[in-house]
């Protein structure tokens, strides 16, 4: 949480995660190149780069897609969630190299505008086996560009969390486009049971984790507190740990009741930054601290400590 926008708000942990991302990407490219040189000597350097960065981007996209549900299912994954945006931008860079080399190799050497050529060089839009799959990859790359370029907190703050979240949920459209791009493209030209199997397993893992998480959350949403005289009975005070919260569903929205310094406060469970679950955070230095990115709020009024201006809704409590 910073008052001024900086290009990257570096911390010791962020630097460590970024080093892991860069080293992981380099290692994959080196291994891919080595395996290609040994087993597929006919492959040109351009083709090797296209395939290496394309497959790398797909692997990274799968990792990005499982981080969210994993962090909901197990808090041990929260540190990875904290750095997910850097992974997303790195994935876009890999996809850009793949797309850039592909456009250059297949569309830039003629006398037609390369972008126009992507859409018109193959017009068999009605065919499955000869579908112009590069169009799908190009559209995915465009969406990734918009997402990567608006990933900074500056855009999050200016677009509003709601709009920003909707924009970044386009990653699911990207996933569909990329799956179709690979299945209608690469596999039509060079069918490999191994790579088809990997993508099918990848999809199964990603979809299963998202659906398990979604149904778990739906179950929690379904638990309603009992009402009496306009008040909802939620729990006894002793059930809440010190500096922690218990979360309850009130009219479909979640409310977190925190206990701190012998006092109680009820606030809306959704962080104003990226919608993190405040009730899963704890009170640090007198402030409720979001477990996702460390945004802080005063428990008494839901206001971020000055000079910050974010505020979450608070609710009245009654002890009987």
């Amino acid at each position: 949480m910073g008052l001024d926008y900086q290009l990257v708000l570096w911390s010791k942990y962020k630097k460590s995660y970024d080093k892991i991302i860069v080293l992981g990407m380099l290692l994959y490219i080196i291994i891919f190149a080595g395996v290609t040189l040994i087993f597929n000597t006919e492959t040109s350097v351009e083709t090797m780069i296209i395939r290496a960065f394309g497959s790398l981007a797909i692997i990274m996209l799968h990792i990005i897609l499982v981080i969210g549900p994993l962090a909901r299912l197990n808090t041990a994954f929260l540190p990875i969630l904290f750095n997910r945006r850097h992974l997303g931008v790195s994935m876009f860079m890999a996809a850009l190299i793949h797309g850039g080399f592909s456009v250059f190799q297949f569309h830039a050497l003629g006398d037609i505008n390369p972008i126009y050529s992507i859409f018109t060089s193959n017009m068999e839009y009605g065919s499955l086996s000869n579908f112009p799959f590069q169009v799908l990859g190009f559209l995915a790359l465009l969406i990734l560009f918009v997402m990567a370029s608006t990933s900074h907190d500056f855009f999050l703050g200016n677009l509003s969390a709601k709009v920003w979240k909707r924009l970044h949920m386009l990653v699911y459209v990207v996933y569909v486009l990329i799956i179709a791009h690979v299945f209608l493209g690469a596999f039509q030209q060079e069918t490999s049971l191994f790579t088809i199997g990997l993508l099918v397993i990848g999809f199964f893992i990603v979809a299963s984790l998202h659906l398990i998480t979604a149904f778990k959350e739906s179950k929690i949403d379904g638990v309603k507190a009992k009402g009496k005289d306009g008040w909802l009975k939620v729990c006894s005070v002793s059930e809440i740990e010190d500096d922690r919260a218990k979360i309850f569903t009130v009219q479909n929205e979640r409310v977190a009741i925190f206990k701190y310094d012998g006092k109680l406060s009820a606030i809306h469970n959704v962080c104003k930054h990226q919608g993190g679950p405040l009730g899963e955070g704890k009170v640090i230095d007198g402030c409720i601290t979001c477990p996702w990115h460390g945004y802080q709020y005063l428990p008494i009024n839901g206001q971020s400590p000055p000079p910050f201006t974010e505020k979450v809704a608070t609710y009245e409590l009654k002890i009987e």
Partner: protein
Amino acid sequence: MTFGQRKAHKYIWLTLAIAIPAIMIFATKDLNILPSKKIGKSNDLVTNKIALKIFENDIVKVSLFENQMEVILKATLKNSSSVIYEMNIAGEKSNTLGQLSTAGIYKFNIKNLPTGIIISDDLKMEESTKFLF
């Protein structure tokens, strides 16, 4: 996440859980998943016919039949835009037969028995192979 966002995520993934497998099935149903089986199957067909001429090198095996030329491309060519041509008696390209891409069996209709064939990438101006029957 708000209740609306949780609900949206749930319905998006329920939709994707149906849509993506459908894409995968439709895209792969016509594919020959096992390339070796594909070649073997076609080789059986070749043995049923008597080739008039056969030529083989590291890149291709070409069998000439009365009205057809069968080309078995042994490995995917380095040049993605390779075209196979009939060769005339002067050793130059004459009729264009078609395009070669990945390893597999290609069949081209021919009117007359060609003198030879040339496989080349005209974009890069590179010849992959050239031979006389």
